[in-house]
Amino acid sequence: MIPADGSTVAADITTGRRRYHRGVPETTPPVTEQLIHARGLTKCFGSFTAVNGIDFDVAPGEAFGFLGPNGAGKTSTMRMIGTVSPVTSGELTVFGLDPAQHGARIRARLGVVPQADTLDSELSVLENLLTYGRYFDLSWAESRRRAKELLEFVQLSERSDDRVEPLSGGMKRRLVIARSLINEPSLLLLDEPTTGLDPQARHLVWDRLYRLKQRGVTLCLTTHYMDEAEQLCDRLVVMDQARIVAEGSPRQLIDRYVTREVLELRFRRADDETDDSSYLDGRLEGLAERIEQLPDRVLVYTEDGEAAAATAYERGLRPASVLVRRSSLEDVFLRLTGRSLVD
């Protein structure tokens, strides 16, 4: 019988610890045992390299995020961790186990929320959970008990006998989250958990994920929403073009890659003006350590936005609007991964 409750995790983690030990940034609790451990992790599809030699560790109880634009390799990484995609090369252990050898044992302790809902449209809400529980070798009675509890948890109890099809996007997402918890996993993998949801639905999902984290469930998620990463993640890595380009807590990343504040100057320009920089006439030079110029907007990265704005006025610039704001993870993201579309 395969333990579905993660009771043997500790034993497996010792193996992981023996293999590797490293310091962890001060923002996370000091842990030495890694749930996920990757070194030089690589995934190739034919000649295309989706993940190119990345290193990371995820500790128990941590909320760990993969941030990056579409096609950065986040989903491929998640699928390797979920043992549904074979590792091309490099080292990967989950719960201290090798996915190639112990795929089923690992999956028995994982919860997975895939990017697409993959619900069974031929079954009711409750039956979706029941059959999924059976896949984990739960008895019907136990599966039913947990399913009811989980529907309560994701606020779907009153829909339990309905078909899946008419559910809203947010409800389907919550149902997938409930489904991923049926085996009481100690590690939950979430691939873009809130993409496509309205704000109410997103906040409800975040709220549930936060409660799971409080209960000690380790979260590992991908997202391209900065607010989601800031809300949920203790620590994150930014991926771009199959590699990890930065790692740290949200605050650390902001401190490291951008200034404290950003001054945004927006200019009203005639449509026929083509020369990008003519309207600035070099008047912003030396104002800040980094200035980013967009077609109708200038971003000035500075420690003091108000002062920089005053200087711009003194130098004769007359922007149509001026905004001073605290810099965010979004600035880090754009700095690291660029502004060009990757779709």
Binding site: I2, F45, G82, V84, S85, P86, V87, T88, A100, Q101, H102, G103, A104, R105, R107, A108, L110, V112, P114, A116, T118, L119, D120, S121, E122, L123, E127, L130, T131, Y132, R134, Y135, F136, D137, R179, S180, N183
Partner: protein
């Protein structure tokens, strides 16, 4: 790479007992709409049996009938028992499997659990076998009630029908795992299943086919299913012939399973 990874996981095994959970899932779906499954599965062979066996049979029998002087109804009843199983097996292995892989992607949900790709293959194949068994038993009852069963051995035609269903389902499942649209199924049914239904000895002996087409009929699995079931139903069993027919069906089913191992892994474990 892909395959070695999995082979290390379960050396030599085709699938684990977890495939039973896949079967359970299918049965749960079945519980919801069993009447429409059975209605659509049984109505067609029943209507063919009455129309061809009784209506058209009148004219066949009047003209001396099929070789051996067997009533036409008795002649086509076991053949229709096998063809309905073929239809059920072929259909369930095509569109529904494509749905689970490509449209609804429910296979990928199952793969996030201890279930493996081969559990899905074997589990769903068991489901198709179960469904074919149910339909075949019910159709056998219809045959007996219509008085179209010449020998008690007709009971053994049911396992032959189920085996035929699997001989179609296994390779078609393997094929479904290579498809990204249902265009291939349309061609398969139009140019494979329908001609087999019409020319593999169902309605007339294949000796009536032009000489050059007869070897083509011999190599179709449906011919072997029909020939085996008919010999049992008419009580004219030739042990050697029966063995050959059954062996041919088993061989095709196993070849399909083997191909499915490859295509399921290739499609689902990437």
């Amino acid at each position: 790479m892909t395959i070695t990874g999995l082979r290390r996981a379960r050396p030599g095994a085709i699938a684990s007992r977890r495939s039973l959970h896949v079967l359970e899932h299918d049965l749960l779906v079945f519980r919801r709409g069993w009447y429409s499954y059975l209605l659509s599965g049984l109505s067609q062979p029943f209507l063919y049996l009455v129309s061809m066996g009784i209506g058209l049979g009148l004219y066949v029998n009047r003209n001396g009938g099929v070789p051996g002087g067997v009533p036409y109804l008795d002649y086509i009843a076991p053949a229709l028992l096998v063809t309905q199983a073929m239809m059920a097996g072929a259909f369930e292995a095509a569109w529904p499997i494509m749905g689970k892989i490509h449209w609804d992607k429910t296979y990928f949900a199952a793969l996030n659990t201890p279930i493996g790709a081969l559990d899905l293959l074997v589990g769903d194949l068991m489901w198709i076998g179960f469904r074919a068994t149910l339909l075949s038993v019910l159709f056998l009852v219809v045959i007996v009630l219509l008085g179209a069963a010449a020998s008690p051995l007709v009971v053994l035609a049911v396992p032959v029908a189920v085996l035929t269903a699997l001989a179609f389902a296994a390779p078609i499942m393997a094929f479904a795992a290579t498809q990204t649209g249902d265009g291939g199924f349309t061609a398969l049914f139009r140019f494979g299943i329908t001609p087999m239904f019409l020319f593999s000895g169902t309605f007339f002996p294949i000796e009536r086919l032009p000489l050059f087409l007869q070897p083509l009929a011999w190599i179709t699995p449906l011919y072997h299913g029909v020939a085996a079931a008919r010999s049992l139903a008419l009580g004219q069993v030739d042990p050697v012939g029966l063995t050959v027919h059954v062996a041919a069906l088993v061989a095709v089913a196993l070849a399909g399973l083997w191909a499915g191992r490859i295509t399921f892994r290739r499609r689902l474990v990437v």
